[in-house]
């Protein structure tokens, strides 16, 4: 049974599949699991109570029946879209209408639509999608339907004396690349960045937006961990940003509803309209339940209050504990970790690692510790496409740790990672 090129491209063994396999399949029997892989958010009690109350309200009337029993339009649930519009216009002074909004079955689906809307074949031409801050989210790497349509610029890196580091845009590199590559169809960043926990500064976003405008291509910002919800962002210098040239992707996954699949796209109306159209053909309509649960919470500002008052402090505390555990476990080694400016991840750089991180990951897995090895987060460079290493020092010496699990498991998992690092220390 042979698959089409589309099939071959989307079923080849990819990073996201490895990651998802780890989520779904049990470890060797008897092994205690330390689940620091995947992207599942933490269970935050106040958030759960908030949704439980919304569901209770639905169940008190026939709202439950009305919601489950009727398709929403492919653009989304109109009352939910209205509440998004009202919220951003009244709280952030934006000037959007419902034509600027489209809802999908999770933001992963939205990015799949968007990447293929702005890259791949344009008649005889072929356009690419530029990721200007590699490493980037593992889940993007295979989303291009056609081969070799993703390109990237390695991030720059500053090291600090406290064993942290921070990625920044090689903004001159981005400018230079675009000057000589008119085939770039769009630029995409996640902010906060998955996997590094980096938060692009407001001036970096402004520069990217300006460059994109100059080249008349859109700038996509994946805001799954960002403002105003879930607000897992610890830097002060950040604001929700949108303009006609930005395609902003948001999600309810990291504020308590990962399994209810609700992605929110805010974009100029031609783009939001295109997303709705593609959604009609590829999915008929998006699920209504997440939208129904969050509708009043967004309109009244409760969701963003919850994000600011509970979700952000919850992860902030976890991030601080994680830093302590790392400092303690890795004390007598050479190690660095990315400043945890946002997201639910800690990104470890182990410069003395004597084996590639893919192999290190396998050794950790044997001890029950699930992580995601760095290699998968570096993609979109021609050299890498020829099977060579990505041209970044961190390529095969990094590890993504999801720190949102139970404290004991994260702490002990980190200890085991440090011990294992010492076993494979050059």
């Amino acid at each position: 049974m042979e698959f089409s090129d589309f099939g071959k491209k989307l079923t080849s063994r990819s990073g996201i599949l490895l990651l998802m396999d780890d989520l779904g399949k049990p470890l060797r029997k008897g092994l205690k699991p330390y689940p620091l892989g995947g992207g599942n958010p933490a269970r935050v009690r106040e958030v759960e109570t908030m949704y439980r109350n919304e569901m209770k309200k639905m169940m008190e009337t026939d709202a439950f029946e009305r919601i489950i029993g009727a398709y929403d339009s492919p653009q989304g649930r109109m009352s939910f879209i209205d509440s998004i519009v009202e919220y951003f216009n009244s709280r952030h002074g934006w000037n959007i209408t419902k034509d600027n909004v489209a809802i999908t079955n999770g933001s992963q689906s939205a990015m799949f639509y968007l990447f293929n809307l702005f890259s791949g074949s344009y008649g005889e031409e072929k356009k690419t999608l530029l990721f200007p801050l590699m490493p980037e989210y593992i889940g993007y790497a295979d989303q291009g339907i056609e081969k070799n349509t993703f390109v990237s610029i390695p991030s720059k890196c500053t090291y600090y004396e406290d064993r942290t580091f921070k990625y920044s845009l090689d903004i001159d590199g981005v400018r230079e690349y675009l000057k000589s590559h008119s085939e770039v169809g769009a630029i995409c960043v996640s902010r906060p960045t998955n996997p590094s926990g980096n938060v692009l500064r407001t001036d970096e976003i402004a520069a990217l937006s300006e460059i994109a405008s100059e080249h008349k291509i859109p700038l996509m910002i994946d805001n799954a961990y960002g403002l105003p919800f879930p607000n897992i962002i610890f830097t002060e210098d950040s604001e929700p940003v949108w303009n006609e040239n930005i395609i902003l992707s948001m999600s309810l996954s990291k504020i308590g509803l990962p399994s209810i699949r609700t992605g929110i796209i805010i974009a100029r109306k031609e783009v939001a309209g295109a997303i709705a159209n593609i959604n009609a053909i590829a999915a008929l309509a998006s699920g209504s339940m997440g939208q129904a649960l969050a509708e009043d919470l967004i309109k009244t500002g409760k969701l963003t209050d919850m994000a600011r008052d509970c979700v952000r402090p919850f992860y902030k505390k976890k991030a601080e504990m994680t830093e302590e555990w790392i400092r303690s476990a890795f004390a007598d080694t050479e190690y660095f970790y990315h400043k945890i400016e946002g997201s639910i991840f800690c990104w470890l750089y182990l410069p003395r690692l004597s084996i590639p991180s893919k192999e290190f990951y396998a050794r950790l897995k044997e001890k029950g510790v699930i992580t995601v090895p760095g290699e998968y987060f570096f993609f979109g460079h021609e050299d890498q496409m020829r099977g060579l290493d990505y041209p970044h020092d961190h390529y095969n010496k990094t590890l993504r740790i999801n720190y949102s699990g139970e404290d004991d498991l994260v702490r002990d998992g980190i200890k085991i990672i440090a011990e294992t690092y010492k076993e494979f220390y050059s």
Copy 2:
């Protein structure tokens, strides 16, 4: 802002968008709406109560929180998949394992994956997807990512003295076509067929399955209205059918959960695995809520009992009333309708219509009656691709009516359709 070929193909004005626009956008002010378009199922009280009880159970423990807060694997919710396997093996004597099952965000998404997995570019070659019983579901028409990959065989038609007709497979035509077209990558039918309400006989399915096997290509059967749930199927000669060469698509949409988006694929394990892989990349994971609501209902057989004892009789009665209303309203005209053997649609053929049904649809819409004109259900033939009519007598003289709405609205809507037919009578 220019879109890629993928973007252009999936955002061009298509039938499914027209249909969805009608669902989402209000009519001219003051006009009474008769919503006989779209594919929304009826609200069946017993079905609603069943899901309400499941939700109550979830809310009595922390099951609610556990379900909303954790991603399932891209293949689906493992406990739900187990209950599917258990049900079909114990009740229908199948021999499937969990490797034969994959869950998507609705069966529309599953068909999008499947069509593009088995048609389009294969290196230098190009394969096609064959629809052997045109007219077929409007929602398929634009699902090919590449152009001109869908082909079809016009159905044969038998007329009866009671003003009904029935489509049947031109099985010789199918055989003939496949002999001279080795580029066909798969065959697809819906059963019951949307839009006609036809149910392919067991011997027709067997013949198709045999032909597909001979050519070593899969036969996809879209069972969204079929057995064992929702069981909106009124013929006796039908059985849930599966074998290693069949890809069976099922859905919870027509048994009460359209907006919760749950598609179920049963296929040989390479195909189910491919669907899970594509789902990981294009959607990360499928929504859990529909699976969680239906899990026990499937395992215990309650869902299929409900389908047989409530859903089927409910639609059967509606279908019979619809037939009466048609006979009465169209009495002094020349008209035919397809035998309502299943699905929630009545398919009208108006041989004396003096304008194309697309235009007739527009006239009806001016009077508040929303239907779907026939033209959109005929696709996949080279002639049609050159902008010519599809080679079937019914091409522009048919109308799909969703009869699942409120009785008064369906009855009066049909009256208005008959009156308007008389205005445009050749």
